[in-house]
């Protein structure tokens, strides 16, 4: 399983892996991503501790739970997911297209610029400069830099895709669309409600922004990478090309139409709300075809999930994905919205998709790639198992806990119980959520320790050879 044997794939006559892939930048992106994930989790735990009134840092301005809640979501979106994806893209795009990225120096410039954006966002939020846009709290003065960064990312990765000859694999459809969408989404969400439209229409744009950030940036990159890594690890083609087409075009058409479903029962016109509801239910059908396609691919090799940890992470993520989307097709209906809107149900849903699906996928890809880059197997199989089980059970537990709590909260509010009642009975659920969060954090620590041991062993071996 050495790097050399992997790089001599089917088409690699004229190109070697090392001409194409800058492994160093992949590693840097991964390590940075994990540092931000750790930061985000600490922030999340801080907020969770605040809810159970045991925040040790309560009353200290810079550690205010309200500000750290925004650090939590932004660090995950821009620090962890974006960096993790960029690392994976630096590996997969050159290998798929057999073309290097547009410019290797530009890659490093983007790396630096992106960390600046994320760091500046964190500093801005900590000093009370947040923008009132959920998931876009990046202070307004950083928005143009981030926008430029996204443009450079698109140029750097679209060039090899544009230069490539011959038919394009599914992965590249998703990637190309994602580069266009992410750029447009960021521009729309961060500038329109701030400068061009106000009030209710800004709410519609804000809803579309939160939604598109998940659906048009995270989702297509995530699925594109799954279409790339799953067949490679299983050493067999994807089950149905036809279903891949349905999945991509269905997502592209229906997903963006749903933004308003985040603000049902607001003053946004009802006919637009109905449109968003219908297209949300439609996308659930599309999602089902994609999940069927992947399970069709696994069919006959299901034993691999026991032995191959990355595949286990990927398919666990897909099960969570299906559950999240199924849940979504219910919660989007006006009937469910009456009860669950504003409640912890939504928080449970968000964790299930952001951690249960996309973070699991990124961690799975990291587990797949680190040994190839370090040219040696993982130091501890045991720690990998701990990482997997703590993450999987932790997020499942957290989502289940919060979703159930959300139903109770919604009914309590609708029944006009005093507000305090909903806070009081939430307490035990919030305690369980802290425990689940700590389990997920424990999983990350196990992973970090494993990376450290493996890197140390790799460095030692290098020293012995030299």
């Amino acid at each position: 399983m050495s790097a050399a044997s992997i790089s001599t794939g089917a088409h690699a006559e004229a190109h070697t892996h090392h001409d194409l892939v800058d492994e160093k930048i992949v590693r840097w992106y991964f390590i940075t991503a994990l540092i931000f994930l750790g930061t985000s989790m600490v922030a999340g735990i801080l907020m969770a501790m605040q809810l159970i009134r045991h925040n040790p840092l309560n009353g200290i301005e810079i550690f205010s739970a309200g500000r750290w809640r925004m650090i939590h979501t932004n660090a995950v979106a821009y620090g962890f997911l974006a960096n993790g994806f960029l690392g994976c893209l630096h590996w997969s795009i050159p290998r798929l297209t057999l073309q290097p990225v547009f410019n290797k120096h530009l890659s490093w410039l983007i790396y630096g610029a992106w960390q600046f954006v994320v760091g500046a966002t964190a500093v801005g939020i900590l000093f009370g400069e947040a923008q009132a846009l959920e998931w876009g709290e990046t202070p307004v003065w950083i928005d143009p830099v981030a926008q430029l960064g996204l443009l450079l990312v698109a140029i750097n990765f679209m060039t090899p895709i544009a230069r490539m000859k011959g038919p394009m694999y599914v992965t590249l459809w998703y990637f190309m669309a994602a580069f266009v969408w992410t750029f447009l989404t960021y521009a729309m969400g961060n500038f329109m409600p701030q400068y061009y439209v106000g009030g209710t229409s800004a709410g519609a744009v804000g809803g579309l922004f939160i939604h598109d950030l998940v659906g048009l940036f995270v989702t297509p990159l995530g699925w594109g990478l799954m279409y790339y890594f799953v067949p490679i690890i299983l050493k067999k083609p994807i089950w149905s090309h036809g279903l891949s087409l349905v999945g991509f075009w269905g997502l592209a058409f229906f997903y963006p139409l749903q933004g308003i479903h985040h603000f049902l029962y607001t003053p946004i016109p009802m006919f637009l709300q109905y449109g968003a509801v219908v297209s949300t239910i439609a996308v659930e059908l599309v999602v089902t075809t994609v999940v069927i396609n992947f399970f069709g691919t696994l069919w006959g090799n299901a034993g691999v999930v026991k032995t191959n940890i990355p595949i286990r992470f990927f398919y666990t993520g897909m099960i969570y994905y299906f559950l999240t989307c199924l849940q979504c097709s219910f919660q989007v209906t006006l009937t469910f919205q009456k009860i669950i809107h504003f409640s912890d149900w939504v928080v449970g849903h968000a964790h299930m998709v952001m951690f249960g699906v996309f973070s699991m996928w990124i961690m799975g890809m990291m587990i797949h790639l680190f040994p190839r880059m370090l040219n040696r197997p993982w130091a501890s199989q045991n720690l990998l198992e701990w990482h997997y089980w703590l993450s999987t059970i932790g997020v499942g537990f957290m989502a289940g806990d919060l979703i159930l709590l959300g139903v109770f909260q919604g009914w309590s509010w609708a029944a006009l119980e005093p507000w305090d009642a909903s806070v009081d009975f939430s307490y035990p659920f919030w305690v369980l959520r802290v425990i689940a969060g700590l389990a997920m954090f424990g999983g990350l620590l196990a992973f970090a320790q494993n990376i450290r041991l493996t890197m140390q062993a790799a460095a030692k071996e290098k020293a012995v050879r030299a």
């Binding site: 739970a65 309200g66 009132a132 394009m168 190309m176 709410g203 519609a204």
Partner: protein, 232 residues
């Protein structure tokens, strides 16, 4: 088209995005374009002025430190109060956003789930057409109650103590303390404290039936025992 680069970039990438943008963002923007967007200065009602002047009476030293003393001449005096009130509102809004208040308190009352009885009149579009709803603060989560009809519901004293240490007034509240809005004790709000209180007292002050709450009518909430007795 389905597997070609141009098909993916132009149809899926730009085309479908544009379609969604038109239907989900541009249509509502067009529908509300005749509701004029108000500047902060236009948002100052007598209700709000009353609360702002109340702050000056209750916390005279803090107020003077933050805003100075009003001029004597009547017309200048009136202008001065409105200007300071606008400054406080803008600043209060920035603090509300920067502290992430809007992540635990929504600002819209839905026409379902008895929210009208709990909070007050259902939110209407025109209420959001102003500078302080840019970007709009609907919110997506209620750990604490909705605040869009909070103004006038409680006294400034209550808010001062509550911001300083919420548990003193709301038993079991998970809301964080905000001691940095004060110079050491709840009776000494600093400029930030005065601003955030002005902002909170502004919420809902534009409604005709202001304030909608307990101090004017007995609690609109029916107690469970009373409900049983009435045989409902």
């Amino acid at each position: 088209m389905f597997e070609s680069k141009s098909g993916i970039v132009f149809v899926a990438g730009i085309g479908f995005f544009a379609l969604a943008f038109v239907s989900n963002a541009f249509v509502p923007a067009l529908m509300y374009k005749n509701i004029p967007e108000k500047k902060v200065e236009e948002l100052i009602t007598p209700n709000l002025r009353y609360q702002f002047e109340d702050l000056a009476r209750r916390f005279p030293e803090s107020f003077e430190k933050a805003y100075g003393t009003p001029p004597e001449a009547p017309e200048e005096n009136e202008k001065w109060w409105n200007e300071q009130c606008a400054t406080a509102l803008r600043r209060g809004h920035k603090i509300y956003v920067g502290e992430g208040c809007w992540h635990c308190h929504s600002q819209f009352v839905r026409p379902v789930s008895n929210e009208e009885q709990r909070f007050g009149p259902v939110s209407r579009s025109w209420e959001y057409q102003n500078e302080l709803q840019r970007p709009v603060l609907f919110g997506t989560r209620r750990v604490g109650p909705d605040l869009s009809r909070e103004g006038g519901r409680r006294s400034n004293d209550w808010h001062a103590v509550h911001f300083y240490h919420p548990l003193d007034l709301s038993e079991g509240s998970p809301m964080p303390d905000y001691p940095w809005f004060f110079d050491g004790s709840p009776d000494k709000p600093n400029e930030r404290g005065l601003a955030i209180m002005t902002y909170v007292q502004w919420l809902g002050s534009w409604l005709e039936s202001y304030p909608y709450y307990e101090s004017y009518v007995p609690s609109p909430l029916v107690k469970p025992e009373a409900e049983e007795e009435a045989g409902q």
